[in-house]
Assembly symmetry: C2
Homo-oligomer: 546 residues x 2
């Protein structure tokens, strides 16, 4: 799946050098004594190797390892971590015994062999998130992943105490995915604390050596990645952005490739990593769409674990049908103003649709940053019943805090508790995801045909909803339990009695007694309908929890 | 652009046979005496050649010609028209002298040379329609084509007098494009008149010889194609459909290819032809998406004139990013219920978006055929201000008429006059087309920044609209003329006085005196805003008419 030639583009030439070196040197491949003997599934097995520190090891030295469980091999690129230290990281995807052998163009780093045992994952560890059921997500162990994302672009460029506060805020929040930049934006935290670390050797604003990385920057980033993982937060890492003007956005193709390879070699073994090739790719005018296609394909080739990959737009939507793209990451707030819009991209891409930016909840003079709390929550519900996913932002600049979305810290807006309420409803809903029930006819209705329906009325203020279900999955006599949900007040009120399906016409079923569901005449109400099984309880659509 | 090898896939082998034949025969290539000496630009130059009638000429004989104007050559496939007659048709795209030489695998048909002169096009003849300005259409001579399409699937399978009536109805209608099937649906006209002609030799329901075409069927079809052309109606020809169950939908790949080549060889010289690979392609379950990609590419290769090409969906939208597709032909009525939906496909495909089926105006028990007249007109306006195009259908089955959309004849619905009114507004509007002005912010507004705005309020019933224009193309002091349009009553009422742009904030301009436009509090109203030039008249956005 990941041939060594991709990991080591110059290995053909280099292998000769290595062979000569091993003839000249009495050293034989040794068991890497420092390597751990056990590792948990989906955790990180790390080989630490000593090697040359002279010259420019970031460019001169290639190192990696081939891991094998006896029936499958995985080739993994390593990286130089400074001070003559090289590392190769591996995230095993099943339990049992694994062996490895290192490969390099430098003799001290090549031919190291060893073995280790993978033990079961820690409780709560479900592995990387994958696409599930075309439009949805699940962890590698099958546990559904109901995404409620947020955005904290530069949270790693703040003082350490703010970073700690960000982690605490996330821990108490509904957010299980966070978008973050790798390279810096121009604005510093509160416009006064400059980033303490930079990804390249050199100094700002433009004195960089793009052939040398700054291991300290990456070690710090990795520490935070691991903490996010342990909190259950997926890290949607944005490789390129148009904002910084530090020169990172105008690197040449070789530097771009070196940067991508280095980032992937360091970060890919973190199971919570997602790759976002760019934020607002089309505002980064130094790159063409073909460049993005090349860089996205490169990430796909370098990443042994096939983490999720996307690219996020400014005003020009990317062609998410490209094969390297696993899900559509779309900025378009308008698309989730009502479910009929949100649904449309599903058919086009036949992949999960994630509205990663729908404007931010906030109080900004910019129109992308002044949604009310209710409008933010409304957009999540529109996206949800349309079978798509929505991202949150919080943009209230105060004198004691910068904005959450720029730098993390604390949340100011009102939406988060309501998004936690929604997430609970999603997690109690169909394990395979909510899909439109009768797309192009009534986009307010999502669910799983015959078993589960979630109807969202948005800005409508009905006082009654005549019970009616589209025919798919429904047969006469089926019994249903109905609840009325206030998406803002966070209440779920059961409706007395069962509803029984009776055929109405060639399209729909209604209640046998033509009952309607009473509604309070307020906006942002929803209805949940679950089919009752033989035991009189709603049929299970979620997976059993452990 | 169209190498002979594509036209004659077996010519390599066949050329030897022809060479042998010309040695054995005393006949030399002759000037084709029957060929016309002049033809109008974009009209059809036709070579009639006598050749073998024995065997199966549809399969055995390949014929074509290379046309040259001295600097460019165009290779054109001919076809067998029965009774030993072969034809090669050519639609010249500019005036002046052309030469030709025929090619064939049969000596009487090969090596015929000749020349002719192309004279200027007839008045009102503008050539084939092309994509213009990414999202729009124009004729080859640059004249904008403002599409108002309709659907008359089987109008050529009705009694002759109904076909004549259809032509009369079209002549008096706003429709400048009509979708029509080539092969038949199962229902006959009024469920009693069977189709008088079939595309293949044999007889219904399933006794067909797919290696032999029925020239009479095609000659009749061509007569009607020419009449549509002369009426200014583009013929959107549907090559395959899932409805007939005559066996045409289960032909093998070789028969599909032979059929496509024959149809293109016969019809492509009609300047009003568009190719629609299929109606509801995804309901034709005998073909895969890869089959459609192959057949669409084949049409592109065979058609020397690069007529517009599309494919129409049932419930699964095709990948209109495929390079052979010139514009997205989409069935989705929901997408034009409001402009915010209609706009979304534009960005995805970056091609013209034509909603070729948005449900039909009618009185059908099927929910795809019971739109009211006002709803049909509403959908056209939604699509128009979103920078897309919409198609009409009329589905009122009566005892004296079948439905317009199935068989032509007469229109029953109320929308057509309002669509004529809309077409006039479109033709008086920007020559380069109406585009969203501030997409994702206010999808009600389409136009050309700074010069022309069309705002459609749909189901809203405002009594006032505060004059406000998005900043693009606008500078302070610009003067605008405002008119209030009733899209159903077909009235255009000028608002007294001019509006003068004054900057409001970082996004918008308002009127210098903060004036608002009074509206009547009814639905389906629109506003047209045109910038006034130095002469006090609206600036020209349309092309001058000849």
């Amino acid at each position: 799946m990941n041939p060594l030639s991709l990991l080591f583009p110059r290995l053909g030439r280099v292998a000769v050098v290595a062979a000569v070196a091993s003839v000249l040197s009495p050293a034989q491949p040794l068991r890497a004594a420092e390597a751990p003997q056990t590792v948990r599934q989906w955790d990180i097995f790390e080989l630490e190797l000593k090697g040359p520190a002279e010259g420019n090891p970031f460019v001169d030295v290639q190192v990696g390892a081939r891991f094998s469980d006896g029936s499958r091999t995985v080739d993994v690129a390593g990286f130089y971590d400074g001070d003559g230290v090289y590392r190769v990281r591996f995230m095993p995807d099943h339990t049992g015994g694994w062996r490895y052998e290192t490969k390099s163009n430098r003799w001290p780093l090549t031919g190291r062999i060893g073995s280790f045992t993978v033990t079961p994952p820690a409780k709560g560890s479900h592995g990387p998130v994958r696409v599930h059921n075309t439009y949805h997500f699940a962890y590698a162990d099958g546990t559904p992943f109901k995404e409620i994302g947020t955005t904290i672009y530069n949270w790693l460029d703040t003082p350490e105490e703010v970073q700690e506060q960000t982690l605490q805020t996330l821990a108490a929040s509904p957010f299980n995915k966070a978008r973050m930049l790798i390279t810096q934006q121009p604005e510093s935290y509160q416009r006064k604390f400059a980033p303490p670390r930079w990804p390249f050797a050199g100094k700002p604003p433009h004195d960089w050596d793009f052939t040398r990385f700054n291991p300290d920057f990456f070690r710090h980033y990795e520490q935070r990645l691991g903490q996010l993982r342990d909190l259950g937060v997926e890290a949607d890492l944005i490789l390129f952005n148009p904002y910084g003007k530090w020169g990172f956005e105008t690197m040449d193709a070789a530097s771009d490739e070196r940067y991508v390879r280095y980032v992937v070699a360091r970060f890919a073994a973190y199971c919570n990593v997602w790759w976002s090739l760019a934020n607002e790719y089309d505002f980064l005018r130094t790159k063409t769409e073909a460049d993005w296609d090349r860089l996205g394909t490169l990430v796909q080739q370098c990443d042994p674990y096939n983490h999720l990959r996307s690219i996020h737009n400014g005003s020009l939507v990317y062609d998410h049908n490209k094969p390297w793209i696993t899900h559509a990451s779309i900025q378009n707030g308008s698309a989730v103003e009502e479910p009929g819009r949100a649904e449309l991209y599903r058919d086009v891409y036949r992949k999960p649709i994630v509205y990663d930016e729908v404007k931010y909840e906030g109080r900004s003079p910019y129109r992308w940053g002044n949604l009310s709390g209710p409008e933010m929550v409304h957009r999540f519900w529109c996206g949800t019943v349309a079978g798509t996913y929505v991202g949150h932002g919080d943009y209230f600049f105060t004198t004691v805090e910068d904005t959450w979305t720029s730098f993390g810290g604390q949340l100011t807006g009102e939406s988060a508790p309501r998004l936690a309420f929604l997430r609970k409803i999603m997690e109690d809903g169909p394990a395979d995801g909510i899909d439109p029930i009768d797309k192009w006819q009534d986009p307010r209705v999502g669910g799983k045909p015959g078993d589960y329906y979630l109807i969202y009325f948005g800005h409508e203020t009905p006082t009654s909803w005549p019970f009616q279900l589209y025919k798919n999955g429904v047969t006469a006599g089926m019994r249903f339990k109905v609840e009325v949900i206030d998406t803002w007040a966070m209440t779920i009120a059961p409706v007395e009695g069962d509803f029984v399906a009776k055929k109405k016409d060639g399209y729909d079923f209604v209640d046998a007694q033509n009952r309607a569901v009473a509604l309070p005449g307020r906006a942002v109400m929803a209805i949940r309908i679950r089919r009752l099984g033989a035991d009189g309880a709603p049929v299970k659509t979620e997976l059993p929890t452990d």
